[in-house]
Symmetry: C2
Subunit: 455 residues, 2 copies
Amino acid sequence: MVPRTTTSEAPMTAPLHTLDATTLARALAARELKAETLAQALTERALALGPRLHAWAHLDAAAARRRARALDQAAAGGSASGALHGLPLGIKDNIDTAGLPTAYGSAVYAGHVPQADAAVVALARAAGAWVMGKTACTEFANMTPCATRNPHVPAHTPGGSSSGSAAAVAAGLVPLALGTQTAGSVIRPAAFCGTVGYKPSPRRLPRAGAKPNSDTLDEIGVLARSVADAALLSGVLGAWGAGPAPRLGGDAATPRLGVTLTSRAQALSAPMVAMVEDAAARLSAAGATMQLAVWPEGFDSLFDAQRTVQVFETAMALAAERQYRRRQLSAGLRALLDEGAALPAAAYAAALSTAQATGLRIEELFGQAEVLLTPAAPGAAPRSLRQTGDPAFNRPWQLLGCPCLTLPGGLDAQGLPLGLQLVARPGQDARLFEVAAWVEERLEARTITHAACGD
Amino acid sequence: MVPRTTTSEAPMTAPLHTLDATTLARALAARELKAETLAQALTERALALGPRLHAWAHLDAAAARRRARALDQAAAGGSASGALHGLPLGIKDNIDTAGLPTAYGSAVYAGHVPQADAAVVALARAAGAWVMGKTACTEFANMTPCATRNPHVPAHTPGGSSSGSAAAVAAGLVPLALGTQTAGSVIRPAAFCGTVGYKPSPRRLPRAGAKPNSDTLDEIGVLARSVADAALLSGVLGAWGAGPAPRLGGDAATPRLGVTLTSRAQALSAPMVAMVEDAAARLSAAGATMQLAVWPEGFDSLFDAQRTVQVFETAMALAAERQYRRRQLSAGLRALLDEGAALPAAAYAAALSTAQATGLRIEELFGQAEVLLTPAAPGAAPRSLRQTGDPAFNRPWQLLGCPCLTLPGGLDAQGLPLGLQLVARPGQDARLFEVAAWVEERLEARTITHAACGD
């Protein structure tokens, strides 16, 4: 069995790259660890894994070290430090970072350096975080893969479009990373790489400064090694606004859970079905209320409606690139943009109506459950570097505006992670985290930090 | 009385800057007019009015002329030309233009030159339009004014935040301009300057490449001299997608109208009330079905709820500027961002719930009416250059997601325009244009092109 990291380890005896953000934050706040030391450790890890993993789109180790050192110096000088003091972040390459190359995963923007940070980057830095580097993403965060490999079995996709963010967190290149999701671009790579991934309710994390694809669907997301780590970063970015943070651990109420394989269960792999069923059984045995959530009549239309909204809006949002830089786009993206541009507005309007009408009936799906357990993807990561896998099991939740969080659900026979997705009603982000922490503890669903690719 | 331009004039006998876009487009398509000639005429107009009006934030006359000439040459070479062939545009300074300075109305971004066009700019250019220049806007399209003056009475505000776009279209600096609206930033300046202004249903015009303020509320808008002109540009930008364009003129069905002064009628000036009542009476006499739309119980909460959503989200979207560039922000914007950052998430969530719950009851307001007539602003432009006026009469429609179009409703005793706002149900943008054209024709509600400031 692969070793697992727990927060009960003494922080300084384990290699720094194996520690989770919560542990690191504690050591950094107590001045037992310098940010610069962490920068050095993560640079060494990147040098060791870089040629195999391709998780970083941009990494300037000396500049990263300077950013870390500046925080150490400010702290030594007595400056107030925030909740993320000294923590390094990986930032997906479709999210703007002032002074750091941001190519949106496309040759069109090679060498592009934004003048300003995206809002989420600014909020994280204001709380004391520093940027380690930019993580690789698919072309404009659509379906054409980048070079990143799955840290567990390198011939398999890491998923996309937040490929580098998921792989970097899984392989110990960085403890926390930002991603974005329009269909399944946070949850799917997190699941394929065996990390925690969180996609918020609509607009909970500000999108300003992320390259738009679908204005209705795009969300900022977080990739992390534990629910507590994801909560640490998500809270700073606004996931519960100025409201109370979720209570993770002991005194949170025992959750009321539902389980659904959606109306597309026939597309699931046998190990995925077994993992979800086993998780439900164990959580029920641990005391959770468990019900079968029946997929209501009409909800199957969400799968296609989400795709229609995404394709139509992406063609509009990438109008400049479609118009002026057509030859620099992949054939796949060109075809997608052309498809979107040719869609009748009536089809788009009908898809939005489907979303609205179905959303009004969401109680039929959730019933008594606070949170639904459902597959994060059809199965483990496919054996291919030419595709990033199928977001079908993310589409309905994205269109409904449900917050989603995936937990590592163990490994299949090939050593590839399976993702257990938790889904709450729109707006219930804080409770989703409480339930996810409860589930994580019962299932021991920890990120596997010693990835096969690395060690 | 101020002279009015009509499309029945022979295009070449009137000064070019007085012609509307539809007339210009016809002459450009027939090769009776060169884009370069138009660039020259608009440059002369800018030189004559510039020092008084301050509508342009950036105008490089030689570069604009080169862009126009390139279109003439492409057309002479037989290249296919689009629906906007040869038409010049003013682009609000918070909308990205590749290679053209875009400062978002703030010293923070002085000299900033985006690498890519916003989606709306790309779509317009793909259809043959060219950019004349960037129009001045308030600081980050919020409430702190830019230097622009009202073309009718220069001591009065032009409104904001799309100040320069409205003033430029009203004063004949450019026939068409793009704006943005979060509360009333298109409709209010259009009304104050006596032009047509259109704010679409949510997401009808793609927002990619416009600087975000409030992710729920921000929309791209169009400022023009007639309903037909606004329709020409809006259609290219996606207002009816690939669906049928509205039928403007003769054979459109006689509209069913309602009239409302909202629940805030006590804030309206007497001339504004008289203008709306007179318009309703004349349209009723012209054959429209006319009803009084009673403001339903509970809808008054929309005014405050819109502001809560805006302030909360703007503080998040401008997190980088609030964090790093605080000293370069106006005191007013700093206070607004601090207010937003201190709002409890519960207040924000409650405001969004108000929007949703009220939106579900929208039939109670519209009843049998297709389109509501309502004031575009409390009255004419206030006598001040330190404020841009009150968006109260825009807030509820923005939060409800209603498409809005303002028509020039004549001048008050001081020679200042009054705006008649037409509002449709969300998604009914094409029908809104049909009704607006019908109303425009009955009321002879044309933009006043010879503004006092200019001639």
